[in-house]
């Protein structure tokens, strides 16, 4: 069994280089060059952490924009998709609940991204159409002119990948923080 000693020596060598040296290097780079991203893109407000720019948090009040549905109930420790088939009755029931929460109607259909759950349940974005769809409710709840809210959405919406992904999206947490700054 002349193979055992070389195997053990390779175990030590690969562990030292491919795990400890490699992870140490990446850790050192990330913590020095991009500490905000390296620690989870946590946003601070008045010295307190209020969420991650990359992780959806739940919003239920009329004065805030609502994120996409989450099969994980926005649990940052248990991300998950619904894993329901697009032909599933359970999915239709869930969608019907969302539709009634938004009071969508045939003459005012709701954009699909506000009804479809994301892959990880923590998608921080909604589509531009999904934000515009909610603008009226938010403006009314805050007593703001609708055009101010619309302008805010337009300012924050961006295409995530230029020509490769031209449909514009909005980060819900950033939008709601900007909204709070706007007032009421």
């Amino acid at each position: 069994m002349g193979h055992i000693f070389p195997s053990l020596r390779l175990w030590i060598a690969t562990l030292a280089i491919c795990v400890f040296a490699y992870a140490g290097l990446v850790l050192g780079f990330a913590q020095t060059a991009v500490p905000f991203q390296a620690n989870g893109s946590i946003i601070m407000q008045e010295g307190r952490p209020i969420g991650s720019r990359l992780i959806a948090q739940n919003f239920t009040q009329d004065r805030y924009f609502w994120p996409r549905p989450s099969a994980a109930d926005y649990n940052g420790m248990g991300a998950a998709g619904s894993n329901l088939s697009p032909t599933s009755d359970k999915l239709e029931q869930r969608a019907a609940e969302t539709v009634s929460r938004y009071a969508a109607a045939q003459d005012d259909p709701i954009p699909a991204d506000l009804v479809a759950a994301s892959g990880g349940g923590l998608d921080p974005h909604i589509s531009l159409a999904g934000a515009r769809y909610q603008a009226g409710r938010v403006a009314a709840a805050r007593g703001l002119p609708a055009r101010d809210v619309e302008a805010l959405i337009n300012r924050l919406a961006y295409a995530p990948g230029g020509v490769f992904a031209p449909d514009r999206i909005v980060n819900v947490l950033e939008l709601n923080m900007a909204l709070d700054k706007l007032g009421r």
């Binding site: 562990l15 780079f29 998709g81 109607a105 490769f164």
Partner: protein, 552 residues
């Protein structure tokens, strides 16, 4: 439409271009062109003597046994060890067995969620370590196979090959990818979960960790096991479209380069070109199919006042664009990667058939090293059938393919459908499978079929609605992964060992040229007949039945 086309062209075309110089470098590396590195590797290993196919196989198995033993122990003891800021407790013994088997075999099937199961030490020194050395094992096996076919007197030395693959191929590319991902927002920290108070005043706990280093090698080594439960749909694993592009290209670049490496090592680069085109053609067919099927809107929303204009969005992330989820699904299952950029369980029925087909064929680039080895089996069969058709002794590069080689090749190829269909039949008929389903009817059957396909193909993706962290699932898929890994590595080495023992004949005008279009078409037909005929009945019961009955 235009965005989809541009994305496919950029990812597949870009990776194909980069694979050319990488393949050249790998061929030089494994041909011993870098003597100073090799002498260092020989000193580290304390072994550098040439091995025949038996010694090489045993060395491979012994090192893989060490991998298994160490990680099994580490996962079992994680709650007693450091780097566990979130206080993960002990996992069940059958989950530890399944997870160890899964990462040793380069599968990365995950019956757990990383953020709520494993400590940072278990993830890094256990799972991430295996992502390096299991991938290196596959590349080493391909190098040995190529040496045998090229007519070398020995297959090389496994311990040198493993270090070449780990330190000179995987490590430098992983470093570049990891740093890019960290810069684009993937966390890299040893801090435990973040506690935040949301704008509405609720408490939210956000898992994080040393993900950037992990995600890079997960993609490059066709591993696929995510740091977080939902893999690359999780915003921390895949924060932007650009990170997503890097991750997708990282899936296919080394499997593509392996074809060029093989061609150069056997001195037949044109032959490699034919193989590359056959693989790329099948991959593009699958990509086209999955994009087309996934452009259909979510059927369950059809009767509700919902505006659908960008296809099926259930299980997809908006920042990654409408195209990349299904594109990723095709790429990740054509190689044996198994990471996901959208939830496969929520794909439209026929779109969900595409990843299954990818795992059934398992060689349209395939896993690092092993994809080309799987293709070698199909080549043996294609050459044999072609030889029979024209009534000549079948030859491959001057090696005579005879009864013994054919029996071995068919044994390895037939084990794949036996594991998948046998396992699916057993679990679909018993409470082991039926009680764990998330969807009913044909889609439930698809969940079982997908799970066994993924295990046997060493892929690792899943129809994740399946409640698969049970003792029967963990044991059955653990065993299937082990057989599905080592049989298709060892049998080809045995075939080549048997070819090496025979005298090589010169190629004549009557020999089917392996550089010709005829050979390419022959190979394509062999693959399609094997795949389509074997798996069509199962496909008809699952995704096709669901499509026909429920889609309008």
């Amino acid at each position: 439409m235009l965005a989809s086309f541009l994305t496919v062209a950029l990812i597949v075309g870009g990776a194909a271009l980069l694979s050319w110089p990488l393949g050249r470098f790998m061929a030089a590396l494994f041909s011993g062109r870098y003597a100073s590195a090799d002498s260092l590797f020989a000193r580290i290993a304390g072994s550098s003597q040439d091995q025949d196919w038996k010694a090489y196989s045993v060395a491979l198995l012994v090192f893989n046994a060490v991998m298994f033993a160490f990680v099994f122990a580490l996962l079992s003891l994680q709650h007693l060890l450091p780097l566990n800021p979130d206080g993960q407790g002990p996992a069940s013994i059958h989950l530890i067995f399944n997870t160890t088997a899964s990462f040793v075999t380069n599968t990365n099937l995950q019956h757990y969620s990383g953020e709520s199961t494993w400590s940072y030490l278990a993830q890094l020194a256990g799972l991430m370590w295996l992502q390096f050395v299991s991938a290196a094992t596959g590349i080493a096996a391909l190098a040995a196979l190529a040496r045998g076919i090229a007519g070398h007197p020995s297959m090389g030395n496994f311990f040198i090959d493993l270090q070449r693959a780990s330190f000179c191929v995987l490590l430098p590319i992983a470093l570049v990818v990891a740093l890019s991902l960290a810069a684009s927002g993937v966390p890299m920290t040893l801090e435990g979960a973040a506690q935040v108070t949301t704008l509405e005043g609720a408490a939210q706990t956000i898992a994080r960790g040393p993900a950037a280093a992990f995600v890079a090698i997960k993609q490059l080594g066709t591993n696929g096991g995510g740091f977080f439960g939902p893999n690359s749909t999780h915003p921390f694993e895949n924060p932007t479209l650009w990170a997503n592009f890097i991750e997708m290209a990282a899936i296919i670049i080394i499997p593509m380069a392996c074809v060029w490496m093989f061609g150069r090592m056997i001195g037949r680069i044109r032959h490699a070109g034919v193989i590359f085109v056959v693989m790329a053609a099948l991959l593009l067919v699958k990509i086209t199919a999955v994009l087309a099927f996934e452009a259909a809107p979510t059927q369950a929303f059809a009767d509700l006042p919902i505006e659908q204009n960008v296809g099926n969005l259930e299980g997809k992330e908006l920042r990654l664009g409408a195209t990349t989820g299904p594109l990723w699904a095709a790429i990740t299952t054509s190689t044996s990667n198994g990471s996901v950029g959208a939830m496969h369980d929520s794909l439209n029925p026929l779109a969900g058939l595409v990843p299954m087909a990818g795992m059934w064929l398992n060689e349209t680039f395939g896993g690092v090293g092993v994809g080309m080895i799987n293709m070698f089996l199909y080549i043996v069969v294609a050459v044999f059938v072609a030889g029979m058709m024209v009534g000549r002794t079948p030859e491959y590069l001057g090696h005579r393919i005879e009864g013994r080689e054919m029996r071995l090749a068919v044994l390895a190829l037939i084990s794949h459908p036996v594991l998948i269909l046998g396992g699916t039949a057993l679990f679909a008929a018993t409470s082991w499978g039926v009680d764990t389903l998330n969807n009913t009817g044909a889609h439930g059957f698809s969940e079982i079929l997908y799970e066994f396909s993924s295990a046997a193909a060493n892929n690792g993706s899943g129809f994740e609605g399946l409640g698969d962290n049970t003792a029967p699932w963990n044991l059955a898929t653990g065993i299937v992964m082990l057989i599905g890994r080592y049989l298709p590595i060892l049998v080809p080495l045995a075939i080549v060992g048997s070819l090496m023992a025979k005298r090589r004949s010169a190629e004549s005008v009557g020999t089917l040229s392996v550089e010709s279009n005829t050979f390419g078409i022959m190979l394509l037909i062999t693959i399609l007949i094997f795949g389509a005929l074997t798996f069509f009945p199962a496909a008809a019961l699952g995704p096709i039945a669901e499509h026909v009955t429920l889609m309008r």
